[in-house]
């Protein structure tokens, strides 16, 4: 049995299930697929005994390594499968035909990318994630979602083609399409043009500062279930790719540090709670990027662990917001509040998620983040460390406190709604359980990590230090709320840096459209005008009444012949003498 399926990438059943779901008209059949296919993937993952390259496909003179299992890809693969499974449960009630296959293919593509052993396979699944996920955004069927979806797709495809371009350039210099060997990390350098392109490609999907806006743009516009799915795969896939490709690249430390810090400011003032989550997603990614930049085994463990737990608790938070969105119809902080009465379980789950993301001890965030912070400190990157610490406090500020407070407590929005449906609660419950379980039984988490861990998170220093930080932040929040200094939840749109480039790019695009339109017009006109001018000139000369083709009386012709005779004689004279 297991031999039969040995070497089949776990992505395959999920993608196939997705394709099947495209044509399956029955709601529950699709749902069963959504729940079962991650289990099938898990099965395939588990029966693969050891690291290695499986499932090599030869095509067009190229070989595609579809299933490369090693210590790094195993972590991501596992958590992706878990996320897909939870999403399946969470979306059980969802009737929309588009989001089911989309979510499945998307998850499958994410898995495929993680298990891709070479850059071309990676490119294939990389693009597939882009194409499949866009429908999750469209599924909300709002005008702004279409535009955001297109922008999202364009950015994703840009990332994909950059990846392809980089791969091609690397191939032409090295003669290999390999994306590192089994267990290799940091296989590329940004000093080569090809490596630079790859770095940019990963960076876009990883939402580097100034390349991040697609995330805040698109995720909050997806459906309730869609946002959960989206939050899980794309960015974490990019983290995986970065870890694989660029671990130890110094600039990543600074990029990561900035990534952790700046979203805090936006998140604090943002009104749309799902957008707040999107900013906090950015912030969390920063920790991982920073860890990858450090590049030590400890740091990479930190990144992996963080990615693992983050998928779960960020998913949990998006799930709770999804439940709110589904029941209330909005996630604007200014419209919410007091929901703890009608949605008590959701409130609890949200608080667990908040605690996890804020890295309260005993929650999964704590054990993961500790690894990263220690690694940064261990390599003596003090300034980045300080920034990370500040950002940790900020996380609590906006994700740990603001979200539960604004949604479920705070002033009463007056919404009387039902509790979230059972399947949602179940998914949230499972995620919450994982958050707690991994926080407490951290050994289970550490055993999964790429490298052997001899790390004790629950030391006195760690716990106290973290608690001091958290309490200070909590105090600050209370203080600010008390004196009404906290930015009030207003129904406004926050301008991010995307405003600049959207304006600039939009302007540039419009300008070049106009110019090229004119150019095209001018070319058309030019052809036509040229044709007209020539035609007119020729017509004046050669038309039946024109000066060259008029009927001439025979006398004139006689003159011509005489003239020609004269010319002939003169020429003959000249030539003869």
């Amino acid at each position: 049995m297991s031999d039969l399926f040995m070497g089949i990438s776990p992505a395959i059943p999920v993608v196939l299930a997705g394709l099947l779901a495209v044509i399956l008209p029955w709601h529950y059949a699709r749902k069963v697929l959504m729940v079962l296919s991650p289990l099938a993937a898990l099965f395939l993952l588990l029966i693969t005994p050891q690291s290695g390259v499986y499932g090599v496909v030869e095509m067009a003179g190229l070989s595609f390594e579809t299933y490369r299992l090693d210590n790094i890809s195993r972590v991501w693969g596992l958590v992706f499968i878990i996320a897909a499974f939870l999403n399946g449960i969470y979306a059980w009630h969802e009737k929309d035909r588009m989001s089911d296959p989309s979510g499945l293919i998307y998850a499958g593509a994410g898995l495929g990318a993680v298990f891709a052993g070479d850059l071309l396979t990676l490119f294939f699944f990389w693009e597939l994630t882009a194409i499949s996920s866009i429908f999750l955004i469209f599924a909300s069927r709002k005008g702004e979602a279409y535009r955001a979806g297109l922008r999202y797709l364009a950015i994703s495809v840009l990332s994909g083609v950059l990846l392809l371009g980089g791969a091609v350039m690397l191939y032409n210099t090295t003669g290999s399409w390999a994306f590192g060997g089994v267990g290799d990390v940091g296989v590329f350098s940004i000093d080569t043009p090809g490596g630079m392109l790859l770095f940019l490609a990963f960076g876009i999907k990883c939402a580097f500062p100034l390349l991040h806006n697609w995330l805040q743009d698109a995720y909050p516009k997806a459906t309730a279930t869609g946002a959960v799915v989206l939050s899980a795969f794309t960015t974490k896939l990019a983290i995986y790719a970065l870890a694989r490709g660029f671990a130890g690249t110094e600039i990543l430390i600074w990029i990561g540090a900035i990534m952790t810090a700046f979203p805090v400011f936006f998140a604090v003032v943002e009104n749309d709670l799902r957008k707040v989550l999107a900013y906090s997603l950015n912030n969390q990614l920063g920790f991982m990027v920073c860890a990858i930049g450090v590049g030590s085994e400890l740091a990479l463990n930190g990144a992996a662990a963080h990615a693992f737990v983050h998928i779960i608790y960020k998913g949990l938070l998006f799930m709770t917001m999804g439940a709110v969105l589904m029941r209330v119809g909005t996630t604007k902080a200014s419209h919410l509040g007091g929901l703890y009465k009608s949605m008590p379980l959701t409130t609890v789950f949200c608080m667990i998620g908040g605690a996890a993301i804020s890295a309260f001890p005993l929650f999964s965030g704590f054990v993961a983040k500790a690894l990263t912070l220690s690694a940064v400190l261990h390599e003596h990157h003090y300034i980045p460390w300080l920034i990370l610490v500040f950002a940790s406090a900020g996380v609590l500020e906006h994700s740990g406190i603001k979200i539960p407070y604004c949604a479920f407590f705070g002033h009463d929005g007056g919404h009387k709604v039902k509790e979230a449906p059972f399947n949602m609660l179940l998914a949230m419950g499972l995620a919450s359980f994982l958050c707690l379980y991994l926080g407490i039984n951290y050994g289970a988490l550490y055993n999964l990590l790429p490298y052997a861990v001899e790390y004790q998170p629950y030391t006195y220093d760690h716990v106290v230090g973290q608690m001091q930080l958290l309490l200070a932040a909590l105090f600050a929040f209370t203080f600010l709320m008390r004196f009404k200094l906290y930015p009030a939840e207003k129904d406004i749109t926050i301008l991010d840096t995307d405003w600049i480039y959207r304006k600039v790019l939009d302007g540039a695009a419009r300008w070049s459209c106009a110019m090229l339109d004119r150019l095209g017009g001018a070319m058309d006109q030019g052809w036509a005008g040229l044709g007209r001018t020539i035609r007119k000139g020729l017509f004046n000369l050669f038309s039946p009444a024109g000066s060259f083709a008029r009927d001439v009386p025979s006398g004139i012709m006689a003159v011509w012949s005489t003239l020609l005779l004269a010319v002939v004689l003169i020429v003959a004279y000249i030539y003869a003498s």
């Binding site: 039946p544 020609l564 005779l565 003869a576």
Partner: protein, 509 residues
């Protein structure tokens, strides 16, 4: 093609003179009786006999490998008039025979349609005389005799063109202009011949040629060449002496246009080659100078300017007439290149042009027969009404443009090679440019024929079925354009033989 004489010895011995005599005598007979149909039959007999005799002579030449010479009345050259047929003029004779035959087949319905019944026999008589003249020009080996035949062909031509007056009175003025110009040209020519006689004392071409070798420094010879060149260029409608041609072709009866377009200027062109390369010394500096600095520039001007003139014409026959002037330019360019390749390209184009213009004018005749149309606007929708004729016309048009696998391409190709051989890149560029212009004027017609919808006529115009007598020559010519476009050996062989005969003085066989 034909390897030996096939006629009885009595005929084949006298074939060169019979070439001229048969149509001449028939002309007299035709003129004396009133029946148009008889006239047509006699003309056909005259033309076909010419063709047969020409083929026989060709066979003789192939068999003996030498020119066929015939002393009129037994008076040996250089004292008597000699008819002498070599590789150069046999091509012309065959062309005359073939084109004359095809044109005459077409003539029966066309002439019956366009010429008053009472005039038909005279018309055919005039045609026969004209034909006699053309054959005579191509046959004779005597310079003055050539002038006489040239005029014998011209004078009936004036009359034939003027016959078009029944449909359009401008034929009269066109004919008159042609007459004035033609006479001036002929007079120039005869002056030139006079000067030649002055300096050599003989009129036999071969004899003159022999004597002139020593006389290149002689001013009389140079002036003679100048006069002959201009005179014949006028007859051959070299730009800018072409002005008689467009109206002449446009307003003459269809049959006349068809016949003249494929033969008349060609014969003058032949005479030009004969005089330039055979009689005068082509290596003499005044000859090469004139070819390079007068003929060639005028030739390319003809190619370009006349093509441009053709584009804007409203009368389709004028379009084709201007195109003929441009085609003369191509031939003259080959002539101006003055190499073996150039002259053979010119000769090839001469033959090919006869095929394409023949097809085109016969097709125009068919259109005119069925609908009475001449103006380009009237051609709208003809493709649907007369698809067969339109297809033939299209083939001719494409050949005129020089689309590969038509004869037009072949001769342009050889012309381009000849120009390149001399390193005349600019000439190649102009040939191509002129071809583009040709695309435009042909395109204008084809568009109207095939694409533009026919206007609705109130009341409906009368339509006649196009008779087989028109369709047969039409399709023979159209297919010839294709066949000889791919099976080039025959025509290229003829043209190369002709060029060798002209330049090397040999038989070129």
């Amino acid at each position: 093609m034909i390897e030996a004489s096939f006629l009885p010895a009595a005929l084949s011995d006298h074939a060169p003179v019979l070439l001229v005599l048969v149509p001449m005598v028939l002309a007299a007979i035709v003129a004396a009786q009133p029946s148009g149909r008889f006239g047509w039959l006699a003309a056909l007999i005259g033309v076909v006999s010419t063709l047969i005799l020409a083929l026989d002579i060709y066979g003789q030449m192939q068999a003996s490998g030498a020119p066929v010479a015939y002393a009129i009345g037994g008076w040996q050259p250089p004292y008597g008039i000699e008819f002498r047929i070599d590789g150069l003029n046999i091509a012309l004779l065959l062309l005359l025979g073939v084109m004359g035959t095809l044109a005459l087949i077409f003539a029966l319905p066309s002439v019956a349609d366009e010429i008053a019944k009472s005039k038909q026999s005279l018309f055919y008589a005039a045609f026969l005389i004209c034909f006699t003249g053309l054959v005579g020009v191509s046959t004779t080996g005597d310079a003055f005799n050539l002038f006489v035949f040239l005029e014998i062909s011209s004078i009936p031509t004036y009359a034939l063109i003027a016959m078009g007056a029944q449909k359009d009175r401008r034929a009269l003025t066109a004919s008159f202009n042609y007459l004035v110009l033609g006479t001036i040209g002929a007079t120039f020519f005869v002056i030139g011949v006079g000067f030649l006689y002055m300096s050599t004392g003989t009129l036999n071409m071969a004899d003159i040629a022999r004597l002139l070798v020593e006389q290149n420094d002689n001013r009389v010879v140079q002036v003679a060449f100048g006069f002959i060149l201009v005179g014949l260029a006028l007859k051959a409608a070299l730009f800018p002496l072409h002005m008689w041609l467009p109206n002449g072709y446009a307003y003459a009866p269809n049959f006349v246009t068809t016949f003249l377009a494929s033969t008349a200027t060609k014969v003058a062109f032949y005479a030009l080659i004969r005089f330039t390369f055979d009689i005068f010394d082509p290596t003499a500096s005044f000859v090469t100078g004139l070819l390079t600095w007068v003929i060639t520039p005028l030739a390319v001007m003809a190619m370009v300017i006349s093509s441009a003139q053709a584009i804007f014409q409203v009368n389709v026959r004028r379009i084709l007439a201007y195109s003929s002037v441009a085609q003369v330019g191509y031939m003259m360019l080959g002539f101006g290149i003055a190499s073996l390749a150039g002259v053979s390209a010119g000769m090839l184009h001469l033959l090919n042009h006869a095929l394409m213009k023949g097809a085109l004018f016969v097709a125009l005749g068919a259109f005119s027969y069925a609908y009475g149309v001449r103006r380009i606007d009237d051609f709208k929708g003809l493709g649907q009404l007369m698809p067969g004729v339109s297809a033939a016309f299209t083939i001719g048009g494409l050949s005129l443009i020089g689309v590969p696998f038509t004869v037009g391409f072949v001769s342009k190709f050889y012309l381009v090679s000849a120009a390149l051989e001399r390193g005349w890149w600019w000439a190649v560029a102009l040939i191509v440019f002129s071809s583009v212009l040709a695309v435009f004027y042909v395109y204008r017609i084809l568009i109207n024929i095939w694409v533009n919808p026919a206007p609705v006529h109130e009341p409906a115009i009368k339509v006649r079925r196009v008779p087989m007598m028109i369709l047969i020559p039409l399709w023979i010519l159209a297919l010839a354009n294709l066949v000889f476009g791919v099976q080039t050996d025959l025509l290229v062989g003829l043209a190369q033989d002709a060029a060798r005969a002209a330049l090397d003085g040999g038989m070129g066989l």
